[in-house]
Symmetry: C2
Subunit: 411 residues, 2 copies
């Protein structure tokens, strides 16, 4: 059986271990919820203060040009593009995932106007399904949202599908769709593809260009550590960009926003997918949060991510097997994202006990404890300690662990 | 002719004069662009740091509940509601003006499904027209955007109009629409009304309840000083709220977002108009910026606003008459918002000269210099100094003003 010293040895050999120092990790906290809200990069507070006090406070309106506020959505977009296998000028940051999804639903629908089936799966994040339902009901024009099981997506692609709307990594099971295969089959049947990268960006090596994906969008407050509710991002394949008819056609997507023409004229390229004025403080925090990624290759992230997840799964199966826990999602690591969910009949209560012991994951109904592994700052020792505490809670021996003793000494 | 000492006397009697100390006003700057980006309230930086370092940095994911992040859109909405004559639980903050406008276009269209005319005017902010054009083209269902001159709106309301989409205060001329009269005529003809309060909120005493307006939306980075790109707000008349079918139906508007049902079910009340996860740093800055409003009555704002505008217009006409300047918009102060635009053939160049002299307004094509008067921090002496410098620039005597002498001494 693996020992803590084995995990410490893995940490000693980890090429990403030095990155942990770039983040604020509260003392004693084992944070396995970076797939929901990433921790604070140390570069962020100074940048937010500079933008607030210096730029807004003293340069005021001139900052839109002098401090590059207008270009921030593009600059941040380009930084994210590198992490998801996309070329420069194909990604913009801004708005929320849900709003960006609506933009892409409208764009895809107009590019495939004779079809009415939107294909998705039951492993999609529900908000994506809600947005598609809202789109369908607004259009009132025969659109059908077809939701199949994740394993059935490939077979459900046919000549009636206008576009697929798939989240690459399942937010509960971590099941990973094959973006390249799904896209290829969709294209073979004349369908377009929209990929939600919420649990992929910064966690798995996405290859938007190589897969031929038509549209994508994603989240920056999870693995990219952009802060609570940080602006989302959106991708359009370069050859499609000038064909997009934006359904949310605001002035930030206009070819000449300061001409104040009365008629909309979309900007060339990715810019037309912008709509209204973006929240600069939150965008600047995101920009600063991305600094830590500049010298990181996603292949290194993936290697450590899989090792962390494998270590966790192995330890859980070694130490918690007696308690009827069951790991969700595929057993093959290559078919998984960067989090692990465990089914347990008392999952909610057990997660509360973990949080009380300073091991933070989250719970997803009906019965899943979810643990996110963020290669930039999660250590193998974290994984060992988390499972150690989980095992003690399940065994009813939580009282003999140092984390509890430390807490008791304080309270 | 009015002297500077007259303006100083007005400042001495100004009941709002003490509010200026709540803002960071850079030394020597006469800032008349608060109708574009309000100055920094001194309460903001500490709040932003608290949210960044303490809440995000140390409480992390638990802050959604412990620090009220989830409720911030409602809390901020209620604070804004008081300033626009709306009851609690009728306003939410979030997203951008353009996105919120799209939500309301969809809502209004579904509530008046047999009609196809959207009535607006050429004094509307162009982005609103762009969003309506995008809506029309997306729907592809016979919608017509009818744009008339501002003076013709009342006459254009008839039984074909589904809803009006009007910005209350014209972003160029400051012309003020009669919200109550337009709404009454619209209702008499079976039409709904959407009001854009971008240049009204915090500037004029809006009475959403009293006017019977159906929908409204607005901006918080102008007179409300929420910061660059601060989240916008949205209002739905209480009796309509549960009838709204949200076109942007994300999880934040779901009745039970954490049940993760596959089907959308709108939350009761105003909440259903929310869509995706909001940018908390920017929302927190806005919340802190609203502190300064808590003891302010909009009637006091209006009284000072009109006095500032009147002083400016009088001084411009007294001192700049020889240079062919012409004040835009109505002459009656009661028909105006809180900014003044001046037509001048060399408006762009003159505005650059003003900015070089530390008097910051902005330029709106084709020929308007625009000056915003923000009663919380603009003084009557500011107005006098701004016109003094404007007059010297137009007279070709800019070199003999202390602002220029001070600059020369430095450079």
């Amino acid at each position: 059986m693996m020992k803590r010293s084995d995990c410490e040895a893995l940490d000693a050999r980890d090429p990403l271990a030095g990155k942990r120092a770039a983040f604020l990790i509260p003392e004693g906290l084992i944070y396995l919820d970076g797939n929901s809200l990433g921790v604070l990069p140390k570069a962020v507070p100074a940048r937010v203060m500079e933008v607030t006090e210096q730029q807004w406070g003293t340069t005021l309106i001139k900052s839109w040009n002098e401090h590059g506020w207008f270009d921030l959505t593009r600059k941040v977009g380009d930084r994210i593009a590198r992490l998801v296998g996309a070329p420069p000028a194909s990604v913009i940051a801004g708005d929320t995932i849900s709003v960006n999804l609506f933009k892409l639903l409208g764009a895809a629908a107009k590019l495939n106007p004779s079809r009415r089936v939107i294909l998705s799966d039951s492993g999609n994040f529900p908000s994506d399904l809600y947005v598609a339902q809202g789109f369908r009901d607004l259009m009132d024009d025969g659109y059908e949202l077809k939701v199949v099981a994740p394993d059935e997506v490939m077979d459900a692609i046919n000549g009636k599908v206008a576009f697929t709307m798939i989240t690459e990594v399942d937010y509960r099971t971590a099941r990973l769709h094959d973006m390249k295969a799904v896209t290829a089959k969709a294209h073979a049947h004349g369908a377009l593809t929209i990929w939600d990268l919420a649990h992929s960006a910064g966690a798995t090596p996405v290859d938007l260009t190589g897969s031929g994906a038509d549209f994508a969008l994603g989240c920056t407050y999870k693995y990219l550590n952009g802060g609570p509710g940080a602006p989302a991002f959106l991708y359009v394949r370069p050859d499609l960009q000038d064909k997009v008819q934006p359904p949310l056609s605001g002035w930030w997507g206009h070819a000449a926003p300061f001409a104040f023409d009365l008629d909309y004229r979309p900007a060339p390229g990715i810019i037309r997918n912008q709509c209204g004025t973006q929240p600069i403080l939150s965008l600047a925090a995101l920009d600063a949060a991305l600094d830590v990624w500049d010298d990181v290759e996603m292949s290194a992230i993936r290697a450590k991510s899989l090792a962390l997840c494998k270590t966790f799964i192995d330890l859980v199966e070694q130490r918690c097997a007696a308690h009827g826990v069951k790991v969700a999602g595929p057993r093959s690591m290559e078919l998984r994202g960067s989090h692990v969910s465990i089914h347990h009949g008392q999952g909610y209560a057990v997660m509360q006990a973990l949080i009380a012991a300073n091991v933070v994951g989250d719970f997803r109904s009906p019965d899943m404890m979810r643990f996110g592994f963020t290669p930039l700052y999660t250590s193998f020792a974290d994984v060992w300690d988390a499972v150690d505490i989980l095992a003690r809670i399940l065994d009813g021996r939580e009282w003999d662990h140092p984390q509890f003793l430390a807490k008791k000494a304080v309270t």
